[in-house]
């Protein structure tokens, strides 16, 4: 009961937050000097009447506050509006979201599957050879910018011909059998997943190692050891449960990054996800599309934090007592 009340309170708190986010984003986009009609104005074959018609269609002839009001009203009713070229925003997002989710969820699954155990190993064998090697590798992973790494891998793919140059499916995808389709997608996913995996693994492994080292140094672990418990019980029963708490908060942020975290890598690999769509929308000042993506980002972040907090309530009795 307490938990449900807490969740409701949190959801109510997000409403003013979302209004603020939408106001700020809307005004910043509209006040930027990007003119969605500039291209048209400089095209000799476009008549002034057409430019005027376009201005009316995009609602640019009205004051900003009216434009915002119109947008907010339809947003509340669940209508995301149309892009500057007249396509439905919801449709455009629907086309791209599954692709981005496929990529990011594979990456998050893999990094947690590998990163957490590696962090524990490094902490338990502190200052051993394994720890040092892992430190070097993760430092490289953290230092290398994702777009640069992606470009290097693309060049590798061109030289060897072992991997496709970006994209998600081959041109003859439609004619493949189901098994062939799965393999084709997996084949295209190898490089982008590898880039994102390497980079997020590094951070996660360092985080886990740090938490674990902190805990291993604490009095209750020393006490457990003194009590004569086996090393396995000390680490996995007593130390790990405490070390994992900060990781849950981190998981909340990972959730927020599900839709937006891979934009740069997506762009380099020409991956048909949200990243490319939003980048183009921003460049063209396609307001409905940009607003939809910004709002989506905000909601995901709030939701991620909420989920992390709820998980913390479940795993950490101390929080339950306080609330």
């Amino acid at each position: 009961m307490e938990t449900i009340k807490y969740i409701l309170k949190r959801i109510l708190q997000t409403i003013p937050l979302l209004i603020m986010v939408s106001l700020i984003s809307f005004f910043i986009i509209r006040l930027s000097p990007v003119d969605p009609l500039a291209e048209l104005k400089l095209n000799p074959s476009i008549s002034p009447e057409t430019v005027q018609k376009e201005r009316q269609r995009l609602g640019l002839d009205k004051p900003i506050i009216v434009q915002y009001g119109k947008w907010a009203f339809s947003f509340i009713r669940g209508d995301l509006g149309v892009t500057s070229t007249g396509e439905k925003v919801s449709q455009k997002l629907k086309e791209r979201i599954p692709n981005t989710l496929l990529l990011t969820s594979i990456v998050i699954f893999l990094t947690w599957l590998v990163g957490v155990p590696l962090g524990i190993i490094a902490a338990v064998r502190w200052k051993s050879k394994t720890d040092r090697i892992l430190t070097v590798l993760t430092s490289i992973g953290m230092a290398i910018p994702s777009f640069f790494f992606a470009i290097l891998l693309l060049m590798f793919a061109v030289k060897t011909g072992w991997f496709p140059i970006g994209g998600l499916t081959s041109p003859n995808f439609a004619d493949m059998t189901f098994g062939g389709k799965v393999l084709d997608i997996a084949y295209h996913l190898v490089l982008p997943v590898f880039v994102l995996f390497t980079i997020s693994l590094a951070g996660l492994q360092r985080q886990m190692r740090g938490n674990m080292l902190d805990v291993l140094d604490s009095d209750y672990v020393k006490f457990a050891r003194a009590k004569g418990l086996s090393e396995n019980v000390v680490i996995y029963k007593h130390a790990l449960r405490n070390a994992v708490n900060p990781m849950i908060t981190l998981l909340g942020f990972e959730f927020a990054g599900l839709l937006s975290g891979a934009a740069l890598t997506e762009y380099v690999f020409q991956y048909p996800g949200l990243g490319r769509l939003i980048l183009e929308a921003v460049l063209k000042s396609d307001i409905n599309l940009v607003m939809a993506s910004l709002m989506m980002g905000a909601v995901m972040l709030i939701l991620g934090n909420l989920i992390a907090d709820i998980l913390l309530i479940i795993t950490d009795p101390r929080i339950r007592v306080k609330s």
């Binding site: 003119d35 400089l42 000799p44 057409t50 396509e87 060049m155 061109v158 995808f173």
Partner: protein, 619 residues
């Protein structure tokens, strides 16, 4: 410590000298580029244009190119985020128009070599002697992809109920409104249509290449009104719902990945063995976000064809002999890069001059404009900015235009002539080489271009250098594209600008917004709508006259005379100082046969005749 500072200074000096050396004329570079250029000259192969034949009462178009093999696919690419719609009457961007153009044929097309109108869906056309009536004969017995016949009803419906009615994107309609009136269209019989323009209007013939829509598919959409039509045949429409007349029809559209077309079995073109074209089974366009990825995809053999930027041509040229592709030089592009001076001498609403009166005197002085023109080293720019893949430009019509005035000669940079012209207008230089006008004002102005366009920025730097040799002080300011457009079309507060405008190599009348003295893009002397033709200069008046007459005349030879005149005036008065046109180079895999590269049509203008042969052999 001092030694260290000295070393740093030395390095900086070295870099500065190197940079200078790179920008200033570079003789060895010139010769190497030149030799490469000569072996890479544009090659024109005689294209056997298709002919009309009638077999069993059906009027086919017959390809005259060698007979090829059926099957296979051609994988091409499109830069950006792909098509926004497949409705040919809604497309506002190039990619969408290209995609729609593949599926829907127009009545006429353009002969890729001569640039003259050629039959497509129409079998033949005649223009009455007064230049107002166009009679179009359609092919008998040809069909839409769903088997329904293509008749005069479809043509009349397309023109009357879609285009003249203002459905979808209205630029076609806007461009044929003559004195506020639209042409009329009428069905004479099932296979004959007649268009009548209110006045003789030569550019109308080019408009007949507008796609024709199947009435039985578009009619229900039209009835539902404009708002419905805007989303009709969008990218979410099922491929099976498209009924087309072109060589290919849509098979699959995968957002942000590719568009796949398959052959239309009902296409009306046949080969000399009377087999139905096209040869290729599939035409694939990969949707590629940027140029670099496109290059990588070509090198990894995921693409069959690629357009090359100047800087990449040299490398491709060197690997061409032992590779499976060939480079084709398609000749100069339609782009016209130019430098323009603001000749506006009027005041805004608040009584303030748009341009500083001191500067006005310079820009309105023909000698000054010509001096600037002679000071510009176009050849050096072609070599250093376009990597030798370009041609110096002196005319407003692009170098591949069928209306190009070939009598206007090109010339080299000539500083002495520039100085002479400046002297004539009373400009003088002081001991430090600084240029002053006859009233003693230092010649100093701003040069704008849009930031982010590396080519224009590079041109800006070189123009600045060239003009500073005359003693002018040039403040080069690349600004954001939108702010620049705002300056050009709304606030008029600029001195000199480097811009490019697109034009058509077939129809100069498209440039009327730029050249008519009350045009919307008459940027060198822009008048507000309220000002009308206020303060018109004698030569502006002449251009107005030639442009109006050029559209009214019907015979090509007569039109050419008018457009030659306008080019002469621009060549002499220099409202725009033209710089260069890039040359288009395309790489295509050797396995494709029946390739007839053409300046106007590109390389895949005859995509229905292209087939896949064995890898050897030249064509």
């Amino acid at each position: 410590m001092i030694r260290r500072v000295f070393r740093v200074l030395l390095v900086i000096l070295l870099i500065a000298v190197l940079c200078k050396a790179c920008l200033v004329k570079d003789m060895p570079d010139y010769t190497s580029n030149n030799s490469q250029n000569s072996e890479n000259k544009q090659v024109l192969i005689n294209y056997p244009a298709p002919k009309n034949v009638t077999i069993n009462g059906v009027d086919y178009l017959q390809s005259q190119a060698p007979v090829g093999k059926f099957g296979g696919e051609l994988i091409s690419s499109t830069i950006g985020e792909g098509p926004k719609t497949f409705n040919p009457f809604n497309s506002k961007d190039n990619t969408s128009s290209t995609m729609a153009g593949i599926m829907y044929d127009g009545l006429l097309t353009t002969n890729p070599i001569t640039g003259q109108p050629a039959p497509k869906l129409a079998k033949s056309y005649t223009i009455s002697p007064d230049g107002k009536t166009y009679t179009i004969k359609l092919r008998k017995g040809i069909q839409w992809s769903d088997g329904k016949p293509i008749t005069a009803d479809d043509v009349v419906f397309t023109w009357r109920d879609i285009i003249f009615a203002g459905m979808g994107e209205t630029s076609t309609r806007d461009s044929i409104v003559i004195d506020g009136k639209l042409p009329t269209v009428r069905k004479l019989d099932n296979y004959t249509v007649e268009f009548v323009t209110p006045k003789p209007f030569a550019p109308f013939i080019r408009m007949l290449s507008t796609p024709i829509a199947p009435k039985h598919v578009f009619m229900p959409a039209i009835k539902k009104g404009n708002a419905y039509f805007d989303s009709f045949l969008s990218t979410t429409t099922k491929p099976a719902d498209f009924v087309t007349s072109g060589a290919f029809k849509l098979k699959e559209y995968v957002p942000a990945q590719r568009v796949v077309f398959e052959r239309n079995p009902n296409y009306y073109e046949i080969n000399t063995k009377d087999e139905k074209l096209p040869y290729l089974n599939k035409l694939v366009y990969l949707i590629v976000g940027d140029l670099n990825n496109e290059v990588l995809k070509f090198e990894a053999k995921e693409l069959d064809i690629i357009s090359l930027q100047g800087s990449k041509v040299a490398r491709y040229k060197s690997v061409e002999p032992h590779s499976d592709f060939k480079l084709y030089n398609l000749g100069p592009d339609t782009g016209t890069m130019h430098l323009s001076m603001n000749m506006n001498n009027r005041k805004d609403d608040k009584g303030k001059y748009y341009v500083n009166p001191v500067k006005q005197k310079w820009f309105q002085d023909k000698n000054f404009r010509q001096a600037v023109d002679y000071a510009i080293d176009r050849k050096n720019m072609v070599l250093n900015i376009a990597n030798g893949i370009g041609e110096p430009l002196f005319t407003p019509e692009s170098l591949n235009s069928i209306f190009l005035n070939k009598n206007l000669k090109s010339y080299d940079k000539n500083l002495n002539k520039s100085r002479e012209l400046l002297k004539k207008s009373g400009f003088y230089t002081d001991k430090k080489g600084r240029l002053f006008d006859k009233d003693g004002n230092r010649v100093e102005f701003d040069l704008y271009t849009n930031a982010g366009n590396t080519e224009r920025e590079a041109i800006g730097v070189m123009v600045k250098q060239d003009l500073e040799e005359l003693g002018m002080k040039v403040n080069f300011k690349p600004v954001e594209f939108n702010s620049l457009v705002n300056k050009l079309v709304s606030t008029f507060d600029w001195d000199m600008v480097i811009m490019g405008l697109t034009g058509s190599p077939l129809e100069p009348n498209g440039g009327k917004n730029v050249w008519l003295s009350d045009g919307r893009l008459h940027i060198f002397n822009q008048r507000t709508p309220a000002e009308g033709k206020k303060g018109i200069l004698p030569w502006e008046k002449e251009i107005d006259y030639y442009f109006t007459q050029g559209a009214l005349a019907t015979k090509f030879e007569n039109r050419k005379k008018y457009y030659d005149k306008y080019q002469e005036i621009v060549y002499d008065e220099k409202p725009f100082v033209y710089i260069y046109s890039p040359v288009r180079i395309v790489a295509l895999r050797n396995k494709f046969k029946n390739i007839y590269p053409s300046n106007l049509g590109g390389i895949t203008h005859n995509v229905e005749e292209i087939y896949i042969g064995d890898n050897n052999g030249n064509n």
